[in-house]
Amino acid sequence: MNVVTPPEKLERKAKDYASDQEVRWCPGCGDYAILKAMQKTCADLALRPENTVFVSGIGCAARFPYYMSTYGFHTIHGRAPAVATGVKLANPELDVWVIGGDGDMLSIGGNHLLHVLRRNVDLNVLLFNNEIYGLTKGQYSPTSRIGTRSPSTPGGSLDAPVSAALFALGSGARFVARAVDTQQKQLPEVLKRAHGHRGASFVEIFQNCIVYNDGAFEHFTARDVVEEMQIYVEHGRPLVFGKNRDKGLRLKPGSIALEVVELGAEGPEAAGVLVHDETDRMLATLLAGLQPPLPVAIGVLYCDPAESYEHQVVGEQMAAAVEGDIDALLRRGHTWTVE
């Protein structure tokens, strides 16, 4: 990741990161909110546009790079993580963001996602999960809930969805976070954490597809339920939530599961509420698995850095041009002279 050197650190505005292209998502699409949050994040971090690259696959989400004033590569369906791996192997200095939808990254691209996470390539992987195939007009996706009616499942889908976060943890990801498109306070925070983490950072962003899957996340993102149905986790802070911050999560006695407790006057600790430890993979797994009626966990669920792949392979800078004595290379081993 490029270290921004002081002289560089001039004031930057969100709009400085907007490209000159007309944004062509449907009016009201959650992608607009994510774009806004990303541009704000770039400005807050004063990222150097020339060192920033957005790599995407295919899908509505994958149109993202066109709208950023940075470098961008709109590749092919499902392959963005693989392309981005090559970018980093050639130039580890670049600040690379990978963008894709749930179909792009978990249907056709699931294998590349697994390996980019396992290898811990220093990429920020943002999965825009709208639980549907938007660009192809609304077929169900691997994250669609059972019973989803779509053009390809008129009778309702039958197969169980995959949990993006649990999949990432099972794949060996060392940074797993969640955010909601419209939550403009939390989303940039999460994006900054992802950027700050050296290695593969996986962020699942719940994104509303207003045309084909409107309201998919209402049950935990709607204004009136958000405090009760979401828990925003922060390292070192007790797992507390609720309108009046009067509820917490603790280990259900005698089992390996979380349960909700009302906080008494003595506060969280007394109630046995857990303190979030983002380096605890099992806690992250428990949090990622929370489902209504339990609150949905948002924020950085897991962060336990390890050396990233490409930095071990090529080091810190752009790979150097091939050099060395070619004649010597050809003359390795046995040679003989004919007079």
């Binding site: 693989a82 004649d327 004919v338």
Partner: protein, 622 residues
């Protein structure tokens, strides 16, 4: 049987000889072969070798499918192939005899280790009876030696286990062959001493076996017909030589090419036979600044290579048929975004998994035509092991000069075959340094060089050139997404014109042998070069009017090719496929070229080609 000593006899001179070492996977035949190759090269012969590994990793001992063989053809004249048929076969067990027998010349010499010719091994080789006794080999000369016990005896004093002792058997056999062809043992002695430096005991035992085998030849009473030969040195151009396989030359050529371009190399691949060697060799070239990446699959490999090229390195990917097929979609992306990329296809027997360890040339259609949309790219092919070096450099040159993927076709035969190579001096190669775009003035990513039509290469990290590219059609004048009908036509035409234009930047097609016009041209590509050269040479020596034309550039074809071929009454196109280049030539030039196809997983034999050429000359179907 009555024997007479050979000591009296002078060595019988041969212009060339073909020797094949065959035994169990565990018998070390490949090592034996490469040692004989080295000694033979040092003796000044020209030569060509081909190893024949079993498909199985380590098949059960004594089985036919576990047989591993190494063939060498060496001579006092230029050697083109590993040889049609074998003069001397060393068979370490019955299975080795069974598998290789069909390739023997009439009257060939078979040297067998009788120590391994027992009921157990006959059964494993599915021999009903002892083939040495049932008269089935009467057409050949047979030398029976109990190499096993001879070796055991020879290494007795070195305190090895029986198992270890028997492992020296191959050196015993090598010693005998050295004696037979009057080769110097020193290079092998040196090699053994370095190889087993840490275990001198093993080294010495092997040397003892080597010497014992040699001594046996000198002293033993050998049956009639078994004698010594001399194959005089060939008249090779003076210079420094080495023995090289196609895989080695290819790896080094890619490294050299990137140095000439002044680029880092990011080599991304997924293992597959027979392409894996390239990955292995380059993984060993880290000191030259080569980055290698073993991806999760072939799609990830080519995509990572494309990403690397996007970022300013040269992305290279390598595979074989089935893996290349998987890269098809991503190749389209590279063509659409016009990034340099080298794709190496080490062809093998198809379709599907086919015959992974056998050679074939059946991916030409896939290379030239095998993509969705009008998606042109450059295709080149190497003709011999050392030619892989030149072709690899050419692939890098075309990819970077024209901002295009280049498909480099080689095959399983070239990858494994070896030949002596007069080493070039790198200083003689013209650099073609890449100039990355840096000027924001009037920049857009699809600005083209008016000459080559190549777009500018602007890599991330360059201030002021931030841009977005992708696989959707782009506006000719801005590089932005465009659905405009006329623009799509223009971009399609431009992509085609760019590749077609390469024809102006490659040498005119020459004639390898023979005249520029005449009765018959034999047109080949790739690894058929060896046998075609020899066959044409033989027929020309016999006074036939035959010319040889061999293509390096498959797409685009050399500008003068149509005209050149029109100068021959007949054009014969031998291919190790069901007729692919021949279709291309017919479509391009409306030329009544006739194909000669061989799809057996094995290279053409010179004799097969001679017959076909004769037929063609007589106007018969080849």
């Amino acid at each position: 049987m009555e024997g007479t000593s050979v000591l009296a006899q002078p060595r019988q001179e041969m212009e060339s000889a073909v020797v094949r070492f065959a035994g169990d996977s565990g018998d070390g035949m490949q090592l034996t072969g490469s040692q004989f190759t080295l000694a033979t090269a040092l003796a000044g012969n020209d030569l060509a070798t081909f190893p024949d590994f079993p498909a199985e990793i380590r098949a059960p001992v004594g089985t036919t499918y576990g047989v591993s063989a190494f063939q060498i053809n060496f001579g006092a004249r230029t050697i083109r192939t590993a040889g049609d048929a074998v003069d001397v076969l060393v068979a370490m067990n019955p299975a080795a005899l069974k598998v290789n027998r069909s390739d023997l010349k009439p009257g060939a010499l078979i040297i067998v280790d009788t120590g391994a010719f027992n009921a157990k091994n006959f059964a494993k080789a599915h021999y009903a009876a002892d083939p040495l006794e049932d008269g089935s080999l009467d057409a050949y000369r047979i030398l029976r030696v109990d190499m096993s016990s001879a070796t055991e005896k020879a290494v007795e004093s070195h305190g090895l286990t029986k198992k270890e002792a028997l492992r020296c058997k191959n050196m015993w056999a090598l010693g005998l062959i050295y004696w037979m062809f009057g080769r110097d043992r020193q290079s092998t002695v040196d090699w053994l001493e370095t190889k087993f430096g840490k275990t001198p005991q093993i080294a010495n035992a092997n040397i003892a076996a080597l010497n014992a085998g040699h001594a046996y030849g000198e002293t033993a009473e050998l049956p009639t017909g078994v004698r010594t030969y001399s194959v005089p040195a060939a008249k090779l151009p003076a210079g420094l030589y080495r023995n090289v396989t196609g895989a080695e030359a290819l790896a080094w050529g890619l490294v050299a090419g990137c140095k000439l371009a002044g680029l880092p190399m990011t080599f991304c691949s997924y293992p597959i036979t027979p392409a894996s060697q390239l990955l292995h060799l380059l993984a060993g070239a880290k000191s030259y600044g080569v980055t290698t990446f073993q991806a999760e699959d072939e799609i990830a490999a080519i995509c990572a290579a494309i990403g690397a090229s996007y970022a300013g390195a040269l992305g290279i990917t390598s595979s074989s048929g089935p893996g290349i097929a998987l890269k098809t979609e991503a190749l389209g992306l590279a063509i659409s975004v016009e990034l340099p990329l080298v794709v190496v296809n080490s062809q093998r027997g198809g379709p599907s998994t086919g015959l992974p360890t056998k050679t074939e040339q059946s991916d030409l259609f896939q290379a030239v035509y095998g993509r969705n949309g009008d998606a042109p790219l450059a295709v080149i092919a190497s003709r011999s092991p050392h030619d892989c070096f030149e072709v690899a450099i050419e692939a890098v040159r075309l990819a970077t000069t024209y901002m295009t993927p280049v498909m480099l076709l080689t095959d399983g035969y070239l990858a494994n075959a070896s030949e002596p190579w007069q080493l070039p001096s790198f200083a003689d190669y013209q650099p073609f340094p890449v100039a990355f775009h840096s000027d924001p003035e009037g920049f857009h990513p699809f600005r083209r060089d008016p000459e080559t039509l190549a777009r500018v290469w602007a890599k991330p990290g360059t201030p002021g050139l931030m841009h977005r590219i992708g696989g959707i059609e782009k506006d000719y004048d801005s590089g932005n997404i465009s659905y405009d009908p006329a623009n799509h036509q223009r971009m399609t035409d431009t992509r085609a014109a760019k590749i077609a234009g390469i024809a102006r930047d490659i040498p005119a097609q020459g004639v390898e042998q023979g005249s520029e016009r005449g009765r018959l041209a034999v047109v080949g590509w790739g690894s058929t070069y060896g046998p075609i050269s020899r066959a044409v040479a033989n027929l020309r020596n016999a006074g036939e009017d035959v010319s040889q034309v061999h293509l390096r550039h498959i797409w685009p074809l050399p500008a003068n090719l149509g005209e050149l071929l029109a100068g021959y009454d007949t054009v014969l196109v031998p291919e190790m496929n069901n007729g692919q280049l021949v279709k291309l030539l017919r479509a391009e030039y409306l030329l009544p070229a006739v194909g000669l196809s061989k799809v057996s997983g094995k290279p053409f034999k010179i004799a097969e080609l001679e017959t076909a050429i004769h037929a063609a000359l007589e106007g018969r179907e080849p």
